[in-house]
Structures are given as structure tokens and as C-alpha cells.
């Protein structure tokens, strides 16, 4: 087991915003069981802001902590702001991740961005 920061352990122990929004405005899925991590983010959007965000995660301690942190960072942000969230920021907010776990932070931001892009694509199709 790698040495995780206190913040990672705290989010792993008490992950926020777990779940799946049934009437989601956007859905983003990344990863597969072969690589060991899977994340599914669902969001609702109101007035161009992320109103609610939930996730389901299959993965290691880092993957769970990253999902939880991303969900906290995204909530209440405008779509543009949320799209600006980088993997690096997520890792920094978590007090750093072990070197071989950095890819987990990539997955978290990627899944969120995918959910936003899914929402935007649906909006575009409707207009």
C-alpha cells in the first residue's frame, strides 16, 4: 500500500457525494476493470452552473479520494470553471498523490469533463 496523504485518507474514509443521479443532465464514464479503475460521474446543471454532482467509482484508495475531491471542487462552479479543473489541481488539493497513482487524478478530471461535454452536446442538439 502506498503512503497516502492525510487528505487522501480523509476523503477515502469519508467520500462525499457518492451515487448516481437518475435524471442527470450529463454523464461521463472513464476507465475499465483491466486498468483497475472505473469512474462514472453524473451532473445536473442549472443556469450554467453545476448544481449537483455524484459519482460511482471502482478503484483503489486514490481513485476514490480523487472522485470525492473532484465532486467537491466541481459543485457550484460554472461549466467553464469546472472544465478548467486540471488533474494537477486535484492532486494538489489532495495534498499530493504517490507517483504511480497520478493517473487516478487524470481519471477524475476526465470523467467530470466528459459529463460536462455530454451535457453540452445534448444542449446543442436541442437548440
Amino acid at each position: 500500500m502506498p503512503q497516502y496523504s492525510d487528505k487522501v485518507m480523509e476523503h477515502f474514509t469519508n467520500p462525499r457525494n457518492i451515487g448516481e443521479i437518475s435524471e442527470a443532465d450529463g454523464t461521463g464514464e472513464v476507465g475499465n476493470p483491466v486498468c483497475g479503475d472505473m469512474m462514472k460521474f453524473t451532473i445536473t446543471v442549472k443556469d450554467n452552473r453545476i448544481e449537483d454532482v455524484k459519482y460511482l467509482t471502482f478503484g483503489c484508495g486514490a481513485a476514490i479520494a480523487v472522485s470525492s475531491m473532484v465532486s467537491e471542487m466541481a459543485k457550484g462552479k460554472t461549466l467553464e470553471e469546472a472544465l478548467q479543473i486540471t488533474n494537477k489541481q486535484v492532486a494538489e488539493e489532495l495534498g499530493g498523490l504517490p507517483g504511480n497513482k497520478m493517473h487516478c487524478s487524470n481519471l477524475g478530471a476526465d470523467a467530470l469533463h466528459k459529463a460536462i461535454e455530454d451535457y453540452m452536446a445534448k444542449e446543442k442538439a436541442q437548440s
Partner: protein, 398 residues
Amino acid sequence: MKKINLDYTAAAPLDSRVVDKMIPYFSEHYGNPSSGHLLGEEPRRALVQAREEVARLVGGDPSGVIFTASASESNNLAIKGLAAAARKKGTHIISSAVEHFSVLNVLKTLGKEGFRVTLLPVDSDGFVSPEALREAITDETILVSIQAANPEIGTIQPLKELVAVAREKGVPFHSDAAAAAGWIPIDVEELGLDLVSLAADQFYGPKGAAALYIRKGIRLRPLIEGGIQERGLRAGTENVPLAVGMGEAAKIARETMKERTVETAALRDKLKEALFEGVPYLHLNGHPEQRLPHNLNVSVQFVEGEALLMRLNMAGILVSSGSSCTSQALKSSHVLNAIGLPPELAQGSLLLTLGPGSKHEDIPYVVEQLKQVAELLRSMSPLYHQYLKEGNRNAPVQ
């Protein structure tokens, strides 16, 4: 806080009798066994005795025991040493897909040096087929190396049949018995083994004490050259206290094997039954009966092993996992892949190994905690949610 060790093959405490036996050889009898004077006498005598005890554990001749510092070193010496000595006879080596990395990586290196390596597959229980071995042997084959039992899924190989096939064709047989020795009878004469790797820390001896048993007539080239210690096959001043510790541990392991293994297997079976009764969607890895008595390996479906391990650690239950996230290389266990386990189940594997502190009384707590942890992690698992929605698409392979 509770501390229930279910990871005894990673490390186990030394038997106190072993420690007591070792202590005088650190300071009181500190002499060099090679010395011709008084100080060398007691260490030399102790080394002879330790060698006899290790030989006795595997039913072999004491002159065949070479002390090393790890089973990894023993495997290196056996395979590289034989390959170098037998190169003129042939360049083909046969092994299996589920060997320890100290076998597999040696073979990878030899592959780059012009040797041809055949890794035999295993079936879903982890067994190597004697028939497949027979078909793989050619006139060029100089060595077969197949483990006695798998350290991860516990499966015990049909060594007698496998060795018989190699013997029929006149090919020397090496077995990495690090996980097996002290837990199942390994008799080099009965089995016909030519080379056997052993590790003291797997039978409550000290870490850093190991051995390679070499049958008379088998020629190896040493990895470490220098003086004539260990018959010239491993130069360097002998580590007498560690050898003494290994000898004592081997003696105790041999004398207690019958009773200890029956008791341990009964406890392991009880744990297994309680887990399968108390926790839904578990999958047993390895053969149900033909397995090491202290080994249990289960996959917890829909969840990942490192997260399980961390949660159980918080509850004071110490286990290990074959998930890719728990390995530095981020690859899931090659053993679980070789038995054909789907990636999702390989990621959720837990290795539970019993030892001297394992107790019946701890079983209900372990079951309750694993149940809770599995429930919690499943509640956030996309695979579990998908399963609940779509039913049997990813049916559990019970």
C-alpha cells in the same frame, strides 16, 4: 485497537525457540567456521547441524544443502547456474506461467541470452498438466522448473507426476518450494527432485535465511565466486546465526508438520465457510482441496482490492491483494491472469494467510468487517450498480 494478521506469508514472527538458538552465534560463538583454530569449532559444528536439519526437512543428503540469503537467490542459482553449466547440452528450459518473479524474470533474462523458454499454462485451478510437460520436452531441454505450491492461490502441483515425466526424458527438475516447505511434505527422494529452493521465513525461521538443495551429480555454475564456502557454489563467509535459525525452524517445522497443518487447514476451512456464508458474491481462487493449508484466496466481486485492503486495515484486519493498484508496476497478479480470472475479479482479490496468531474467535469479526466493507465499496461501485440494473450480464462466477 484490534490487530488480526491474515498476511502471515508476507512476514511471520520467529518461533522463540529459533531466536534462542540463534542468539549465541551473534556474539558468544562469533567465530568463522573456516578458521582452523578454537574459535571456528563451535560455529563449524553448528553449521553442520543446521545443514543436517534443512536436509532432513526435504529428505535429502546434507552435502546437497547450499545456504543462501533468500529463495529468490536460490531460484537464481538453480536456474542461471544450471543454464550456464549445461549450455553445451541444450538451451531449452521449461517452466510455468504461475512461477514466482524470481523464476520468471530469470527466464526472461535467459531468453535474451539465447535460451528458449517454454512457460506451460495452468488450468483454472492453477495446475500444470503432466501431459503438457511431456509434449514440451525436446532433446534440447536442459531443465524443468515448476513450483511445489503457489504462494498466492495455494494450489499444490502434482509434482510426483511432473517429475516422473521429466525423469523419463532425463531432464533435471527444479522446484521452487519456498511457499510449500514446512507446510506439505517435500521429499526429494520420493519425488525425484534434483533442485529445491527453500526459505526459512515461510516456516517461522528468520528472513534472509534460505537454501538450495542440489542432488549429487547436478552441476551448477556459481553466481557468487570467491572462496570455497558452500562447496564453492556460494562464496562468502557463512552467516552462521541465520543458518542456525533456519536449521532450528526446519526441525520444528518437520516435527510439528502433521498436527500444525491439520489444525491450520481446519481453521482456514472454517474461515472460508464463514466468509462465503456471510459475504455475498465471493469467488474462491485456487483449488478447493489441493492447496496449502494456511492459504485462502478470494475475490470480492464488484470492488477493487486496494480499497478493500485499506478499509480492512482501518478495522485492524491485515491482508494482501493481487490487484494492480497494490503492485508498484500497476499490473494485476500474473497468477490470477494465468488461471483465466476475469480482470474485474482479479482486481478484487484478497490473499488471506494464517499463522501462529490465527484464532477461531477472530472469524466472526473478520466476516462482519469484510461484509460491511464489501457493502460500502459496492454501494459506490459502477460495476455493482450495473449488475443490479442489468442482472446477470456480469453474473458472479460462483
